[in-house]
Symmetry: C2
Subunit: 348 residues, 2 copies
DNA sequence: CCACCGTGTGTGAGCGCTAACAATCCAGTG
DNA sequence: CACTGGATTGTTAGCGCTCACACACGGTGG
């Protein structure tokens, strides 16, 4: 049965010292791998530790060293695939570095919630924090708050004076858009994410830039909230435009800002009797595990979330150790994954 | 710019005491809401705290109170929708109770990884932990390990001597199976999850029980690994059976153990030219956000992950406070969500 | 008028650890 | 053979906080 060990208080360093017949300082030295300890002494101490089941008290250590060896993570919606994957990458990286990761999830993205979260982390003495705050408002709040420890952002440092790691969203969007144009489409429609999200803005920007470079006037941007339902609504609108004939730009290709919305778009098109990719090609962003099994399998942009997590921990540690070189922005490259939803264009 | 405050060490309680012209103990009393402090004194102290930007040092507090006010969470694959949602629920609940949540993710589910994770948490002095370890092997390892703090499981306490919270998986499976039979199917096929997962076993059990209660001999169980791809393979097998004609039990309905695999099954059926639900009805489990937009929208079982998270924190705190009444198993009820993938059976 | 009590406040000890310094030992050196 | 210096170990002083206790004060009751 799993219970706390008897109310006996756990052994202290002094207990180990007594058991091993040395001073507590020697125990401390053994534990921290100090070189100047005779091998035999070291063994005695190790044996005593083993025998007593001793474990260093992290609170006492933190008190005297002023280092909690804990870092905080602030995540907005860890239910979404992206944040969840980043989180997982972060955890692993931090643990490898000997840090404990404490996570705080934000109910809403509001500036006040973020302040509370930072407070919560500060109260527990984290040495630094990673903020997975892809909303513009959150990042601005972060820049304003100036917490008592270094903060690194994930997907949020654009143009602000905060170090961070992000995927090259714009490049991802460019890859998709170029791909669609190369497949023979006259133009590419776009279903964007929420306006407040930096990722969303960057994706829209990449899409727009490519079209303009090709001398194409970008069609009106449709907008969703990342959810499949919002994609569905956008899809209905696209379907209407596609069927209405050539009012404006022809609807033969759409770049949807994430895979979940793309699923909704696909559904709406199908319901309207529009075939994908024959009549309208659709591409997404994220490469969620389901994407390869959508009807049809979705062309999308893969993000290396593990790398992002790892890099951000690395960057944060540099700031904690004070070895950071200014305000750095690390950019991770995305990868285009071409699947059936954009293949074999009708008129190509 | 976000940086640690100057190398000046942060103010201590003694600083506040001096500033307010009282003793450090009075400051402590104010901070912990002790009643016997004169109102004017309290105000002076509060003002001094404000002025200095003072903050209690949690390490010092933890050292003397022997309470870290931190709880650990061990999660297996926080990328999956279920664990991620549970995690989110946990976080919120814990924070409301004034606890910090430290998460450790398990690379693999192996017993050794779990031991490492517990060690990691123990090293930081968590007061208790929630283990989201839906695999049988993990739970068994947990039962064997007996860590120095209370542990509560989520989806893992079945039959073992560990308190825990779980969804009534069996009931969920029963609801689905009953629903499919009620729609007129002669029998229901089943695509199970990995054998090692308790959730998978319970779902299979519920399905089997219902069939047997109806005097139906359960068909052979197909098995996947929760991924869409494995569902796709299972779907191909089902499609083969469906088209081969009536060798054994007719394939007109399938209960797939999670939504992601169900997506794969749907795809395989579609590719084989089998219509859903007209020829084969399909139901899933989890109600991931995408489920309502599958082709066709998926009948599934919804789990209230937030409730599960909340209840498990509650249970854990009871064990930490010592007010727990034995080894309790809390069961949360699932909800059947009927959508198009099982509606309008051909022969009904 | 003094023992008694409750309220408000201060004092001292110590939580378990690390860092700085002091002490000891022993080999090598002039 | 005292003398130096590195290796090894011990001693002491806190880190910042809470707990237990002591103390001061005014009001009661006998």
């Amino acid at each position: 049965m799993i219970r706390p060990t008897e109310a006996l208080r756990p052994p202290t360093m002094a207990d180990v010292a007594r058991e091993a017949g040395v001073s507590h300082q020697t125990v401390s030295r053994v534990l921290s791998g100090h070189p100047n300890v005779r091998a035999t002494t070291r063994e005695q101490v190790t044996a005593a530790i083993e025998r007593l089941g001793y474990r260093r008290n992290s609170a006492a250590r933190a008190l005297v060293t002023r280092r909690s060896r804990t870092i905080g993570v602030i995540a907005v919606d860890p239910t979404l695939y992206g944040p969840a994957s980043t989180l997982a990458g972060l955890q692993e990286a931090a643990r490898d570095e000997g840090y404990l990761v404490s996570t705080v999830t934000l109910r809403s993205g509001g500036g006040h919630a973020l302040e509370d979260a930072l407070d919560h982390l500060a109260a527990w003495g984290v040495e630094g924090a990673v903020a997975i705050t892809p909303q513009r408002s959150s990042v601005q709040a972060l820049a304003r708050l100036a917490p008592p420890f270094p903060v690194v952002t994930v997907e949020g440092s654009h143009g602000l004076d905060i170090p961070g790691v992000s995927l090259d969203q714009e490049l991802g969007a460019r890859l998709v858009t170029e791909h669609l144009l190369a497949t023979g489409h006259e133009t590419v429609w776009h279903v964007a994410g929420p306006e407040d999200w930096l990722e969303s803005a960057a994706r829209t920007e990449g899409w727009r830039a490519v079209l303009e470079e090709h001398g194409i006037r970008p069609p009106r941007v449709l907008r969703g909230d990342w959810s499949p339902l919002s994609g569905y609504h956008a899809g209905q609108e696209l379907a209407g435009l596609a069927l209405a004939g050539r009012g404006a730009a022809p609807v033969t290709a759409a770049f949807v800002a994430n895979d979940q919305m793309a699923l909704g778009v696909l559904r709406a098109l199908r319901e309207a009797g529009i075939r994908t990719p024959r009549q309208v090609a659709v591409a997404g962003f994220d490469d969620i595990p389901e994407a390869g099994f959508f009807p049809p399998p979705l062309t999308t942009v893969r993000q290396d979330f593990t790398a992002i997590g790892r890099r951000s921990i690395q960057l944060l540690l540099e700031h904690i150790e004070g070895t950071a070189s200014g305000v750095e922005h690390i950019v991770v490259e995305p990868q285009l994954i071409v699947r059936a939803s954009t293949r074999s264009q009708d008129g190509a």
